[in-house]
Symmetry: C2
Subunit: 568 residues, 2 copies
C-alpha cells in the first residue's frame, strides 16, 4: 500500500483527552478517530489488525468444533422479557422503537436470541452438544466511556454459547473454549492470566476471566509467583486455617474510651496496638437477615465469600438505622461482645484470639483484653477474608502477588438459567424433557486490539507483534525526489509484494525525520530504508523491536527477508 | 463438519409465508431463521457462504486500491443534520436516544460519517484520490420487509466512497469500482447486467445499477440482445428521431363525442383507430410550472427524461384543479390544440403526425384529423418516451428486450453534494480550497446471497456455484449402523479434510431418503455416498448440478476429487 494515498493520519502531539497509552497511540498512529463519545471509526491500519485478530479467533474456534453463525444486533423486546432482563438490565441496554412503535434493544449479549434459536431448532439429545459463535458488533450504553476503545459503546465481540445434555458435557465444552482462549491470546502475544472468577450460585471452577496484565486494568488479580494459579481477588481462596496468635495475658475484658476512632488505623494508632490484635466486625444484611462477620484487623472481609458460605442471593452492608435498632450497636463501634439474636461468623484468622481489641457497640467505646470463646462465641469459622499480597498460594508453596488486569475474555458456565427461563429443552434417551445446559464465552475483539498495544509499545510508538502487524514491512524511500532512491524503492516495492509480503510503502514527499518518526509510531516490525546509498544498491533494515539496523545489498534483500522477519 | 451436531435445521415443507424461491430455500435448507419481521439469524451454512462472498469482495476491492476501514453503525444526529438528511430521511431511518437523551441514528448508509472523516483528516490534493470501504451491518426500517433477506431491516452491505480532486479523477475511481463489481458478481456466478440508471442532476454515465436477472426483481431493465447495452427503463435512451407517419388525408380538424373514453385503449376501441394515431398529452408541473408533454399513444411518457431535458428538480403530474383552472382543460381529455400560455414539448414520435386523434380539452370530446404544425405547435422535440420491447438498441443494430432485475450493487457519482454541505475541502496545487469530488458504491452482501440462490436452484433445492458453496463435498454414510459403511466413511472424512477439502459429513442416523433429500436441498456441488458397496471399497460420486453419478474405488477417491470438482 502506498502511504501517500493511505488514510493514516498520524499526530505529533499526545491528544489531551487520552489518558492511557493505547488510547494515545491509537489516535497518534492513525488507527482510530472518535465519531462521538464511545463511538470510534477504525481506520485502515486498525482494520487490518482487527482482521488478523478475527482470523485467529475463527481458526481457534473452528478447531475447537464451534460453528460460526450471525444473529441480529436488533433484538425484539419480547425475547428479553422472556428472561426478565428487559426490566433489570438498566440504562446500559440501548432501546429503540421501530416505525410501528414496537420496542427493540441493541444487543449487548445474545443469550436470549441464541437460547430461543436452539429451543426452536434442536429437540433431541442426539443433536447435542453444540457450540455456536459469532463475531459481531455489540452495544452497551456506558455511563462513562473511557480509555478509547477499551470501554466503548459500540464494540466488536466474539460471543459463543454451548449447549449440552449433562454437567460433564458442559465441563468438556467449557474446557475446549478455555483451551481455545489460551491459544488465541497466546497467538496475540499477550501476557495474560486465566483468572478464576466468582461463579456465584454455580460454584466450582465455573468461570474464568482472561486478564491481560496491565497497570491500567480495572480489576485486581491475585497470582502465584510459582505455579499458574491466578484468581480475581474476590474469588481467591485463602487456605490458611491456623493462625499464630499472641500468648494471652489472661486479663479480664475492659471497656475503654476511643473517641472518634472509627477506623482500624485510627484505633491502632490511638491505643498503640497492631491491627492484627483488632477484631473487625462487619454488620451485614444477608438476604435481609442480620449477620455479623468477623475478620482480623489486618485483613479485609470478602463479602462474596460470605454470600457463597451462606448460599445467599444478596449480601449488603447493614444500614445505620438497622445497626442501631436491630443490632443494638453503633456504626463504627460494632464488636462481637454482647450481641444478641444475630448470627456471628468469623474468618479463620479470628480463631483463638486473646487480648484482642473490639468495638463495644457503644459510641466512642471499645473493649480490650477480649478473648474468643471466653467473651463471645462464633457460630462458624470459614475462609471469609480477601487474599493479601504475600499470602501463601492456595495451590502450592509459592507466594501471592497482586496485579491489575484488563479483561479481554470470559468463559462462564451458565447452567440452566436461560434454558429454563425460555423453555429450551431436549428429549433425553428416555424421552424425558430436560433443560439444555449452557455455557457462554466472550472475547472483546476491539478491546484485545487495545490491550495488545498497551503491552507492546515504547516511548516512540507501537511495536506490533508479528502475527498481528498490519503490514510485514515498512518500506521507506527517504527522498522521493532523488531518482536513484525512488527507482530502487519502487522496484523493491514490486518485488516484495510479488514475494507475498504485506508492504506499506512510504512514498510521501516528506522530510526523512517525519517519515522515521511515523514509522516508529506505526510500529511495523521490519523497516527497509532506501536512502543515500541507493545508488550503490545498498539499503538498511531496522527492527522496530530492538532498533537493530543492518546494511544490505538490495539485490539480496528478498532472500534475507525471512530471517529478518524471524528476528522482528 | 459432522452433520449430527451441526446446526442445519432442514424443513420438509415450504414455509407458508415465503413467496419466492430463495426465501423458501433459505428456510428449508437451514440457512436462516427469522427473529422478527425483517430480522434474520444466518445459520452456519449461510455464514460460510457469506464469508466467501465477503472474501471475494475484499479481494477485488483491495485489488482496485480501495482501503478497508470500519465506521460506527450508531451515528449522532448532528452529523445527519449537517446535510439536512436527519429531517428528510423519513421513517426508514431508525432513531434512538442514549442515556443522556442525545439522539442517534442506526446508519443505513455512511456518506455523512465518511465525509466528516475525510474533511477532518485529509487537507491536501497530494493525499487524493482515496477510496475507502467497509463491510458492515446496515439498518433500514422498511415499511414492508419481504422476500426474506432480499428486503430486510438489518442487512450486510459493502459500502465504498471515493474522494477525488477532479471530475476526471472521479471518472477513473468510478471505473475502477465498476470493474471490481463486474469481477465480484462474475465470481459469484451471477447472471447480471450493469444497467445505466438515472443519475439525476449529475447526468452522463454517472450511475449504474448491477442487476441480477430474475422474475422476482422489482425493477425493469431494458437490454440489448446483441451488444451489452442495458439500462433501467427510466433511463434507457431511444435514439430514434424519425418515425414513419401515415399519409395525411388533408381533412380539416373536427370535434367528436367520446363519452367516458379516458384511456388510449378505450379511445382506440371506440373510434377504431390504432393507438399510434393518437396524441397522448400529459400535463405536468415542472418545478411548479405547467408543461404539456406529448407522446404517441402507443408509447409511454418518461418523466425522468422531461426532468433532465428541462433541468428540473421536481416533475409531478398536474393536479385536476390546476388542469381546469390554469390549463383550461379537462382531466382525461387533454390535447395540444388550443392550449394557451403553457410550454408544449413532444417526443420525436409526434413529429409530422397528420390525421391524428387528440383530446379536445373538453369533457367527453376529442378532435380528429389533427395535424402537427397546422393545428398546434410544439416548442421542442426530444427523446421523451420510455423505451419499448422490440425497439432498436441505442448502441447497435440489436433489439431491446425487457427483464426484471434484483439490484445487488450500485455505483454512483455523487459529485460535491456531501462535501459542499459538510465543508470537506482540500487545498489544490495553487493553495485554493476546493470541495472533494465524491463517488459512492454499494453492494448488498446478504442480498447477493439470496440472489445467488434465486439463480441457482431446481425443484429439489439449492445448487451452489463452486466458488460460494459452503462445503466442497457432502460425504454421506447411508447407514451409520453398518460397520463397513461407517468405518469407510470415517476414514474418507479424515482423508478428505487432510487433503484440504471442506467436507460436510452426514453421520446422522437417519434414513437414506432423508439424507439424500437433505443433500439435494443443501446443494453442495459434489456428493460422495458410502453405501452398500462399502465392503468392496466402492463409493458413489454425484454432481448436484446435473445429477451425474459414478462408482469409484474408495482408495482412488482422493486423486479423482480435483477432476470431479472441476465438473461440479
Amino acid at each position: 500500500m502506498r502511504q501517500q494515498h493511505y488514510l493514516v493520519p498520524t499526530l505529533r502531539d499526545v491528544p489531551a483527552d487520552a489518558e492511557v497509552a493505547s488510547h494515545q497511540l491509537m489516535l497518534r498512529a492513525g488507527l482510530i478517530r472518535q465519531l462521538a463519545s464511545g463511538l470510534y471509526t477504525y481506520l485502515p491500519l486498525a482494520q487490518r489488525v482487527l482482521k488478523k485478530i478475527q482470523d485467529i479467533i475463527r481458526e481457534e474456534m473452528n478447531k475447537a468444533g464451534a460453528q460460526e453463525l450471525l444473529m441480529p444486533a436488533l433484538h425484539p423486546a419480547e425475547i428479553w422479557q422472556e428472561t426478565g432482563r428487559w426490566d433489570v438490565y438498566g440504562p446500559e441496554l440501548m432501546r429503540l422503537s421501530d416505525r410501528h412503535e414496537r420496542q427493540f434493544a441493541l444487543g449487548p449479549t445474545h443469550e436470549e436470541v441464541v437460547t430461543g434459536l436452539l429451543r426452536d431448532e434442536v429437540k433431541s439429545y442426539k443433536r447435542l452438544p453444540m457450540t455456536v459463535y459469532q463475531i459481531q458488533t455489540k452495544y452497551r450504553d456506558e455511563r462513562r466511556p473511557r480509555f478509547g476503545v477499551l470501554r466503548a459503546r459500540e464494540f466488536i465481540m466474539k460471543d459463543a454459547y454451548s449447549f449440552d445434555t449433562s454437567r460433564e458435557g458442559l465441563d468438556e465444552s467449557y474446557r475446549k473454549m478455555y483451551d481455545a482462549y489460551q491459544a488465541i491470546f497466546s497467538r496475540c502475544q499477550l501476557n495474560f492470566r486465566a483468572v478464576e472468577a466468582d461463579a456465584g450460585a454455580i460454584g466450582g471452577t465455573g468461570t474464568h476471566e482472561f486478564m491481560v496484565l496491565s497497570d491500567i486494568g480495572e480489576d485486581t488479580i491475585a497470582y502465584c509467583d510459582t505455579c499458574n494459579y491466578a484468581a480475581n481477588i474476590e474469588k481467591a481462596e485463602v487456605n490458611q486455617q491456623e493462625y499464630e496468635q499472641v500468648q494471652g495475658s489472661g486479663l479480664p475484658m475492659e471497656k475503654v474510651d476511643t473517641p472518634q476512632a472509627k477506623t482500624i488505623e485510627q484505633l491502632a494508632a490511638m491505643l498503640n496496638v497492631s491491627p492484627s490484635q483488632i477484631i473487625k466486625a462487619v454488620a451485614l444484611a444477608v438476604d435481609g437477615q442480620v449477620v455479623v462477620a468477623l475478620v482480623r484487623g489486618d485483613f479485609e472481609l470478602n463479602e462474596v465469600k460470605v454470600k457463597n458460605l451462606l448460599d445467599a442471593d444478596v449480601v449488603e452492608l447493614l444500614d445505620e438505622e438497622r445497626i442501631r435498632t436491630e443490632l443494638g450497636s453503633e456504626p463504627g463501634f460494632i464488636g462481637p461482645v454482647g450481641l444478641d439474636g444475630c448470627k456471628v461468623i468469623a474468618d479463620y484468622s479470628i480463631k483463638g484470639m486473646t487480648d484482642a481489641l473490639a468495638g463495644a457497640n457503644e459510641k466512642d467505646k471499645h473493649v480490650v483484653h477480649v478473648s474468643v470463646d471466653r467473651d463471645f462465641s462464633v457460630e462458624c469459622y470459614a475462609d471469609l477474608r480477601q487474599i493479601s499480597e504475600g499470602d501463601a498460594c492456595p495451590r502450592c508453596a509459592g507466594t501471592i502477588h497482586f496485579a491489575k488486569g484488563i479483561e479481554v475474555g470470559h468463559v462462564f458456565k451458565l447452567g440452566t438459567k436461560y434454558s429454563e427461563a425460555m423453555g429450551a429443552t431436549f428429549l433425553d434417551e428416555n424421552g424425558k424433557e430436560q433443560p439444555m445446559i449452557m455455557g457462554c464465552y466472550g472475547i472483546g475483539v476491539t478491546r484485545t486490539l487495545a490491550a495488545v498495544i498497551e503491552q507492546h509499545h515504547d516511548e516512540h510508538g507501537i511495536i506490533w507483534p508479528r502475527a498481528l502487524a498490519p503490514f510485514d514491512i515498512h518500506l521507506i524511500a527517504v527522498n522521493m525526489k532523488d531518482d536513484a532512491q525512488r527507482e530502487l524503492a519502487e522496484q523493491l516495492y514490486t518485488q516484495l509484494r510479488e514475494a507475498g509480503y504485506e508492504v506499506l510503502y512510504d512514498d510521501r514527499q516528506e522530510r526523512a525525520g517525519v517519515k522515521f518518526k511515523d514509522a516508529d509510531l506505526i510500529g511495523i516490525p521490519l523497516r527497509i530504508t532506501v536512502g543515500k546509498k541507493a545508488g550503490e544498491g545498498i539499503v538498511e533494515s531496522k527492527l522496530r523491536k530492538n532498533g537493530e539496523t543492518q546494511e544490505l545489498k538490495a539485490e539480496q534483500l528478498i532472500e534475507q527477508i525471512p530471517s529478518l522477519l524471524e528476528q522482528a
